[in-house]
């Protein structure tokens, strides 16, 4: 009986229907299923299938992104419930990410954010054209272990260095690993500005984040 509902949540996520996922999660809660069980036996196995299918080429980005939306819709409902019970979902880590000041390119950053959440990270996406102080503030507020900075312009990549300087000023540099990306950026640049890592695409970003956190 329970298992039916959980596997239904799993298949709904795989089929990519956020509304129905939310309804089913609601239903599961009201039927007394534990929030953790919903996450660990319904949502996460579903996301794993989607991830595998994407990796094997059977699924494409729209399926991946909509599955992440299903996950999000479900977590919006489950989060307050988890908090109330003082339970927490095992997270791979917390990430703050955004595109630096002066730059509005967002597609690559969004993909990185999506892939990170699909991989179990809690992601705070600050959007585009994000001033340095805002990154610093969010890192302080969330205690994020990873800060991701995206820059697509040769004129804005220098801003990545500024954000790192701002972290230092705020005394937060030791608490967070800074990872960077974007078309004009490379490993050498990462080293020269004292970032902790560079990845050339979203899959690489996940591997990098995991490696930096020793997972």
């Amino acid at each position: 009986m329970e298992n039916d509902l959980l596997s239904l949540i799993k298949t709904t996520l795989i089929d990519g229907d956020p509304e129905r996922t939310a309804t089913l999660v609601q239903q599961a809660l009201s039927e007394g299923l534990a929030p953790l069980a919903i996450v660990e036996q319904g949502l996460v196995p579903g996301m794993t299938v989607v991830g595998d299918r994407f990796a094997s080429g059977e699924y494409f980005l729209p399926q991946l992104v909509i599955a992440a939306r299903c996950m999000q819709a479900a977590m919006d409902i489950l989060q307050p419930e988890l908090l109330r019970r003082q339970e927490a979902v095992a997270r791979a880590g917390t990430v703050v990410i955004g595109t630096v000041k002066g730059d509005i390119h967002e597609i690559g950053k969004n993909l990185v954010a999506t892939m990170l959440s699909a991989a179990g990270f809690q992601v705070f996406d600050l959007g585009v054209n994000v001033p340095g102080e805002q990154f610093v503030e969010k890192v302080r507020e969330t205690g994020a272990q990873i800060l991701g900075l995206s820059a697509l312009l040769t004129t804005t990549m220098t801003e990545q260095r500024e954000v790192i300087a701002a972290l230092e000023q705020a005394g937060l540099r030791d608490r967070v690993k800074v990872i960077i990306g974007g078309a004009p950026v490379n490993q050498r640049w990462a080293e020269s500005i004292g970032a902790d890592g560079y990845a050339e695409d979203a899959v690489g970003a996940v591997a990098l984040a995991r490696r930096l956190l020793g997972r």
Binding site: G57, F60, L61, P62, I104, I107, G108, L111, L153, T154, T155, M157, T158, A183, P184, A202
Partner: protein, 487 residues
């Protein structure tokens, strides 16, 4: 007869324009620029100051379309009108603002420096198929803040061809305007005979950033032509249906034409873009995709229906080396762009989306462009009767090589490819060392660059260009510019 490509029925064009107009009312356009919001409001658009959304009634857009010139010319530095924006005229320029150069020796990408770009400019100058220069790469040996104007400084120092360019900041636009005026003989002369056009990009969906919007207004006020580079990414930042992406392009460009014409009625403005059909596996905007080509050619049809000059980013490849994919993607886009009658086609020499430029690709693309230009020149009778006279004279002899008729027409009728295209026998190809197209292109690039002759700028103009650029560089902490290479 001029062969023409058409992808949209007249009915579909109407519906696309109609939906584009409707989008400008609901949800409206986000305009993150005070001056543009004021212009739109004064003209009668409903502007919400907190959301910075402008809802633009069709009547205002129609008025703007009526004052936008259907055609204008770009001039060479010798004062010749060599690029005609308007009608079905077709011209080609290299891709622009690359962040990497494909190193000829190692065939790997690296950040470009002054010497790379100067070499590229010389090569583009020497290739007759390339009609205009572009500020093709951003040199990394100068401060990032002057990256845009420094490119223009280099092009003006080494080339006579008109230039497709663009600014990365609001303040640098004025320095770039000064550089152009210095060469053109003053601001008025520049306005009367523009030598450059600025790309300005709205951000999908339906947003004008402060920077690009200001560039657009400043171009209009200075009578410098601007090229709207709207880039819906079908399935990512725009509807995935090709027609839907064209609707978004239409709405963005209509808003651009409107802002431009409100800033100064009659200012030259081009219906252009760099859309792409998003790759659903890699999450990239492929420039060599058939869907991309189709969106480009379709929006050009819409622009023509509105009686505006057209532009597109086509003829590029997403390949990382100059290989078969590189050739096939570049050829596909270039041929279609020519058939679509797009006035300025940007992209020669560009690969890896819009990141990297290659000398060898530029040389090969020049051959594709040559063939495309031949294609649209079409087939003509040439003589009347077409063939009867010569065929009756020769009867059954296959002696056409010796015929005056052949001598008279062959160079006009046949596209004469450069040695980059291998048409020798297997034997001769092996004797010459089994060279690939890349090897041959590299050799030709070397020959052409060696044959380059200085652009012939007057000394005082040259000094003035350097003075303006050095002054801008000083503002960003660089006291001396890199030395300019010979030539």
């Amino acid at each position: 007869m001029r062969p023409k490509l058409s992808l949209l029925s007249p009915d579909l064009i109407e519906r696309i324009i109609d939906e584009g107009m409707q989008l400008l009312m609901d949800p409206g356009v986000r305009v993150h620029n005070e001056e543009a919001l004021r212009l739109l409001e004064e003209a009668g658009a409903a502007v919400d100051r907190t959301t910075q959304v402008a809802r633009i009634p069709e009547a205002i857009v129609r008025r703007a379309l009526a004052t936008a010139p259907p055609a204008f010319d770009l001039y060479s530095l010798d004062g010749e009108p060599v690029v005609h924006y308007g009608g079905d005229a077709v011209h080609f320029d290299p891709g622009s603002a690359g962040v990497a150069i494909l190193d000829s020796a190692t065939q790997t990408q690296r950040p470009p420096v002054t010497a790379d770009f100067v070499r590229f400019i010389k090569l583009a100058e020497m290739l007759p198929q390339i009609d205009a220069q572009s500020t093709a790469m951003v040199c990394r040996d100068v401060p990032e803040e002057i990256g845009d104007l420094y490119r223009l400084y280099l092009v003006l120092s080494y080339s006579r061809k008109p230039i497709v360019t663009g600014a990365f900041r609001k303040d640098t636009f004025w320095v770039m305007r000064d550089l152009l005026a210095a060469v053109a003989g003053g601001e008025e002369a520049l306005a009367a005979r523009p030598i450059a056009i600025f790309d300005v990009c709205p951000s999908p969906p339906l947003l004008w950033s402060d920077l690009t919007c200001q560039n657009l207004i400043d171009c209009a006020r200075s009578s410098i032509p601007a090229e709207l580079v709207s880039m819906p990414l079908a399935g990512a930042t725009a509807p995935v249906t090709l027609a839907g992406a064209v609707v978004q392009h239409t709405a963005e460009c209509l808003s651009g034409v409107t802002i431009c014409q409100l800033a100064r009625p009659g200012a030259p403005i081009v219906w252009g873009g760099s859309p792409a059909a998003f790759d659903m596996r890699e999450g990239t905007p492929p420039m060599g995709d058939v869907g991309t080509w189709m969106i480009d050619c379709a929006y050009a049809e819409v622009g023509k229906a509105l009686n505006l000059p057209t532009h597109a980013y086509l003829g590029m490849s997403d390949a990382k080396v100059v290989d078969a994919q590189c050739g096939l993607e570049s050829a596909g886009g270039t041929l279609l762009a020519a058939l679509a009658g797009i006035n300025m086609v940007s992209g020669a020499g560009m690969m890896d989306f819009e990141s990297c430029l290659s000398y060898e690709k530029l040389v090969i693309d020049a051959e594709i462009i040559g063939m495309a230009k031949r294609l649209i020149a079409g087939i003509e009778a040439r003589e009347d009767p077409i063939a009867l006279t010569v065929m009756r004279r020769l009867g059954h002899r296959a002696d056409y090589l010796a015929e005056p008729h052949t001598l008279r027409w062959f160079a006009k009728e046949l596209y004469i490819a450069s040695p980059v295209i291998d048409r020798g026998s297997l034997d001769s190809w092996e004797r010459k060392g089994r060279k690939t197209a890349f090897d041959r292109a590299r050799e030709r690039a070397e020959q052409l660059v060696a044959a380059y002759r200085p652009a012939g700028l007057a000394d005082d103009v040259r000094r003035e260009l350097r003075r303006i650029t050095v002054a801008a560089a000083r503002g960003f902490g660089m006291d001396e510019l890199p030395p300019l290479p010979e030539g």
